[in-house]
Amino acid sequence: MIKQMLTRLLAKSLWKQKTSTALIVLSVASAAALVSAFLNLAFHLTEQVAKELRSFGANILLVPRSDPLEVEIGGLKYVAPEESAHLEEADLVKLKTIFWRHNIVAFAPFLSRLVEIEGNRALLVGTWFEEEIAIPAGKGLFTFASGIQREVEPDSGKFRTGLKSLARWWRVEGGWVGEDGQGVLLGSQLAQRIGVGRGGVVRITYQGRTVLFPIRGLVQTGGVEEEQVFVHLKKAQDLFGLPGKVDKIQVSALVTPDNSLAIRASRIGPARLSPEEYETWYCSPFLNSIIHQFEEAIPDSSAKAIRQVSEAEGAFIGKMRLTFMLTVALALLAASLGVMAAMMTAIFERRQEIGLMKALGADGKQISLFFLLEGGISGFFGGVLGYFGGLAFARLLAARTFSLASFSLPLSLQGVILFTTLILAVGLAVVGSFLPMREATRLEPIRAMRGS
């Protein structure tokens, strides 16, 4: 009966005072719409950027097998020196011959040593910038222990790849090192430190040998690369006296998220899967099955998953989100003032009612509960209204301003946004009603009632 009375009281109060309720709902809704629109845009844009980065960034690193290669000669065991610490440049093309060859988006070799550059120590990195390579036909038919055969179309012809496709987010001022392989790409920090710019020349010394390189461009990456110097792989091999060798290879491969089979395979090792499971695992583009196939293709290599790009991506997206959040916070602050004002007016207008309730023997708790609930309900409806309003606005903005055709966020993210918006809306309305509420209940009932 008490709950029923309270419900009736709330419903009537909200319904019979439509103008005041509408004003509060609208003011909360506009604040909520702002939050919802910003969150939707922030998540959507960062998601978009993340997707872009993810499809081009490296996610697999190949290095020489780390355990020393043991060679038996005449019953004696030798640990092969130097040679085993490198991969062969000629093996790179094999990456495009594995079962999942079509999912290999880009790769680049690296060969790095510390050098002297204009009297400063820095890492010189030899790599491919934009290399055109010829892909061999490779194996077309894969036969499995389970008896199943799978055919893969050859990824025939030419393939252009290198750092330019691997590190899409790098900002190069000037140009990449061209086809001719002449010149260097200088990390912007390093360039600043040694006081050189585009169009200049740098002197690089390695083990007594000095070579002059023209500066083609300066690069900003947001990471340690800004302290490094990039040259064509051939130049590095010449300088270091390591023809045909590379230290490591970074690969960008399109992968599918791990499922239970992929997780089991990484835990117990693919060799212990049943033949059927192995076949399924091998023929799914899991990160680990692609890694497995790389190690098959280049036997003296060790491949592993890396998060290098995710980190760069994370930092960038983090900044982007932060910017969005700060904007939302500021806008929200302004909007909450509006809500406060609306709540204050509404409650001020009802101070006579509050005085009457007090005179009738209602205690502060009963009155507060009533008005805070009323505020909360208005806030909730404002929040729902604002959420959808904001979503619609974000869609419109995405289509008009960012020319993004599709606008869809995962349901879980939408849930997060709806939840955040509602919590903020209800919180705003409740907090907004709290202060004027307290003022009103503090007032002596006779004084409150007398007031017009």
Partner: protein, 243 residues
């Protein structure tokens, strides 16, 4: 008989200057109907608000039902209002968005438990059986005041305090309200009615007259049931009913 209300040198100053009540001592017995009369600004409302625990005196003591309510905390004053008094004002304060019966139920809700049947019965007793579901805006002034009276009595308070209950009503409505008061008085309720209308005042058991915050002394024969009232200065007027 134990007095229900007993005040001793009750004073109220506003802003340290205006002396709205000046050392008022009085006593009111259970079942009595007392009229508080006096010119405008003589302190009638102030006295009533004190007894309702809506306002605090500057000095003096005020016992209601055996307890000094001046010592009450804010919380206790709220509980006191809820449990001991029924209030009727000159302006018929009702919650505008609630119907007549809901307005009565609201007082039940603050007190303990809303009971629709009981609320409807109370409205029937003040002649509003047909207007149970009307909003205040749909009722005449007299009808609104009758809702207020039903609300004031719904929780069976020890005292009913009315501040110029007919001040805003025409003669016909005044008549109706006074009939209800007589009825309630016969049923044994204690009534304290503020008025400046002698016609209303004369219907009470006795009159307490205020002038500039002071009780006007009247020397007169005491009625039997006021024997114990040692220092109350009041006029028993039942016999002098006019015409």
């Amino acid at each position: 008989m134990e007095p229900l209300i007993l005040s001793h040198e009750l004073s109220k100053n506003y802003n340290g200057k205006v002396c709205a009540l000046d050392r008022v001592s009085l006593e009111i017995c259970p079942g009595e109907w007392v009229a508080v009369m006096g010119a405008s600004g003589s302190g009638k409302s102030t006295l009533l608000n004190m007894i309702a625990a809506l306002d605090l005196p500057t000095s003096g003591a005020l016992w209601v039902d055996g307890v000094d309510i001046v010592t009450y905390t804010e919380e206790e004053r709220v509980r006191f209002r809820r449990e001991k008094v029924g209030l009727i004002f000159q302006h018929f304060y009702l919650i505008p968005y609630l119907t007549a019966v809901e307005n009565v139920m609201l007082a039940q809700y603050f007190h303990s438990m809303p009971d629709k049947g009981e609320a409807e019965e109370a409205l029937r007793r003040v002649g509003l059986g047909e207007r149970l579901d009307s909003l205040p805006s749909e009722l005449s002034g007299g009808e609104q005041q009758r809702v207020c009276i039903a609300r004031a009595f719904i929780n069976q308070p020890k005292i009913v305090l009315a501040d110029e209950p007919t001040g805003n009503l025409d003669a016909t409505n005044e008549e109706t309200i006074m009939k209800i008061f007589h009825h309630l008085h016969r049923a044994g309720h204690t009534l304290l009615v503020v008025t400046h209308d002698p016609h209303i005042g004369q219907q009470a058991d006795r009159i307490i007259e205020l002038d500039h915050g002071r009780v006007v002394p009247v020397v007169s024969s005491q009625r039997s049931f006021l024997k114990n009232t040692n220092f109350t200065l009041s006029i028993p007027i039942k016999e002098k009913h006019p015409t």
